[in-house]
């Protein structure tokens, strides 16, 4: 059996591998590109060190794996537990027969165990704050409002309005640019933390689109041709859809 793992520092899984190697199990670094479809067992070494912070994405991973690879053996490994229990391995106290332990571990979808707190920033909490905001609009509300202007621009284009008039009607007051900036501020603060999450490829895609759309906002205002060339409307719609795909994996979204 190949055991996939995610860790910040490779020496810890290497140490771990010494304990499983003899039984024909193999430790393999998890690659986002390959996904979880062929994964029978997965070990998350937690906390991870991301963006200059210790982060604990354990509960996010369990929830995600429980949904997409419910039969997979999902385990966490760290240095925070009094002893190894359920699926949470204590590195300083590994079971004598680690291979057997992994084989007998509960599945990702099993609700009878939950990851222990490994002390870093709780990524479920971070994600929740990203989606909910801090007292103001949730990110989905922000996007609903952001999408109103592209809808109006599209209608105006369909009616062959002159570009200057479209600019005057929908962009000249800077309101839309302001809304975009609100999103971008939130995004830039949170995105670096998301590199440790199972749905990071979706976030990476959002980042690419956001950077592209931002070219429009950084250009001379009112360049509707650039707006069309970049595909700002479609891009914003895509970001909203990607966020909507991620949202069900987050607990506590209002």
């Amino acid at each position: 059996m190949d055991i996939f793992f995610l860790a910040t520092n490779q020496s810890v899984p290497a140490y771990f591998a010494q304990h499983v190697g003899a039984k024909g199990l193999r430790m393999m670094p998890f690659l986002y590109e390959d996904g979880l479809s062929n994964c029978e067992a997965f070990v998350l070494f937690s906390p991870l060190y991301v963006n200059g912070h210790y982060v604990s994405p354990d509960s996010v991973w369990k929830k995600y794996c429980g949904q997409y690879s419910p039969e997979m053996k999902f385990l966490t490994a760290g240095f925070a537990n009094p002893s190894t229990s359920d699926n949470c391995l204590e590195i300083s106290d590994l079971p004598d027969d680690l291979s057997q332990f992994i084989t007998n571990a509960k599945t990702a979808a099993d609700v009878n165990w939950k990851p222990t707190d490994t002390g870093g920033l709780d990524m479920m909490d971070v994600l929740c704050r990203f989606f909910n905001g801090h007292g103001n609009e949730s990110i989905m509300e922000q996007f609903s409002k952001l999408l109103r202007i592209p809808a109006n621009i599209q209608s105006a284009l369909n009616l062959n309005f002159p570009l200057q008039r479209i600019y005057n009607l929908y962009l000249s007051d800077g309101d839309w640019a302001g809304r975009w900036q609100v999103f971008l501020n939130r995004w830039n603060r949170y995105y670096p933390f998301f590199a440790c999450l199972p749905f990071y490829p979706k976030f990476r895609e959002i980042e690419k689109i956001a950077q592209k759309i931002n070219l429009f906002f950084q250009s001379d205002e009112g360049d509707i041709n650039l707006y069309l060339q970049i595909g700002c409307s479609e891009g914003i719609e895509t970001i909203k859809n990607l966020l909507a795909e991620i949202a069900p994996h987050v607990e506590g979204i209002k």
Binding site: N9, V12, Q18, D93, G133
Partner: protein, 267 residues
């Protein structure tokens, strides 16, 4: 001359328009500055420029609220921290009642309630048994902050106590596993005497130079177990040969016992 200690808390203060200094009883060189989070970034910049003086030390704590406002204020705070590198010893965000600045009835530490005020007898907080109580106050009858509450918060943020122990623990496991202790066929010396563990030793020395037993006693004066576990960890790391039996397991236990007694998050 002892530098003046400024604890600058940018928050949703209930009765503060701009800035309100609160003195600390018996401490002539310590002040809490309550700064309204409603200040515009330019105003905040001006305020910080005034508060952070050459012969002073400042901790700046910014409440994380609405994202665009937090983002613009954080830029101002970071810029001040960068400009006054010697004076601003710590700047950080706090939120959601989880941080050390919030009053904890269990630990009897912290300064603020969740409603924009310093904890006083007007604050109704739940006591250890979960009953509502008006018994808590960080203020004396003159409205000054009782020094032990101020000093505990100050020491916590300036020494980053919990973070240092946590960070040392993580570095510890990385180094220990990297060196593969089992492969040494002979007894190893103690951590401090082993050149193979130079990085870890450096982090250990740096952490324990700042986190002395005296400092921890000040921060966690209501919990003697912290000092006991600290001594246990230090004795272990100072005296036990690196590949003695169950070294990793015992070290993990000492780290865990100490961290479990230190309230708050690492950030």
């Amino acid at each position: 001359m002892t530098p003046h200690r400024n604890l600058i808390v940018i928050w949703k203060w209930d009765d503060v328009e701009n800035v309100k200094p609160v003195t600390v009883a018996g401490e002539s060189a310590a002040t809490l500055f309550c700064v309204s989070q409603k200040l515009m970034p330019a105003q905040l910049k001006e305020v910080l420029n005034q508060l952070v003086q050459p012969n002073s030390l400042s901790v700046i704590l910014l409440h994380e609220s609405d994202e665009i406002e937090t983002s613009s204020r954080l830029k101002v705070v970071k810029s001040a921290a960068n400009k006054f590198k010697k004076q601003v010893v710590r700047h950080d965000l706090f939120y959601k009642g989880q941080h050390f600045i919030y009053f904890s009835t269990i630990n009897d530490t912290g300064l603020i309630d969740g409603n924009g005020r310093l904890v006083s007898q007007k604050s109704r907080l739940k006591d250890k048994d979960g009953h509502w109580s008006n018994d808590f106050s960080v203020l004396d009858s003159n409205g000054d902050i009782l020094s032990r509450y101020f000093n505990t918060v100050w020491d916590f943020y300036t020494h980053r106590a919990r973070f240092r122990i946590f960070d040392l623990k993580e570095q510890f496991i990385v180094d220990m596993t990297r060196q593969q202790l089992a492969q040494y066929g002979h007894p190893l010396p103690i951590l401090l005497g082993n050149p193979d563990f130079a990085l870890l030793r450096e982090k250990y020395e740096e952490s324990f130079k700042i986190l002395t037993a005296g400092v921890l006693t000040e921060i966690y004066k209501n919990n003697p177990a912290v000092n006991q576990h600290y001594q246990n960890l230090k004795n272990f790391l100072d005296n036990i040969p690196l590949n003695s039996e169950n070294y990793l397991r015992d070290a993990a236990r000492h780290f865990r016992e100490l961290l479990s007694e230190m309230p708050g998050k690492i950030y």
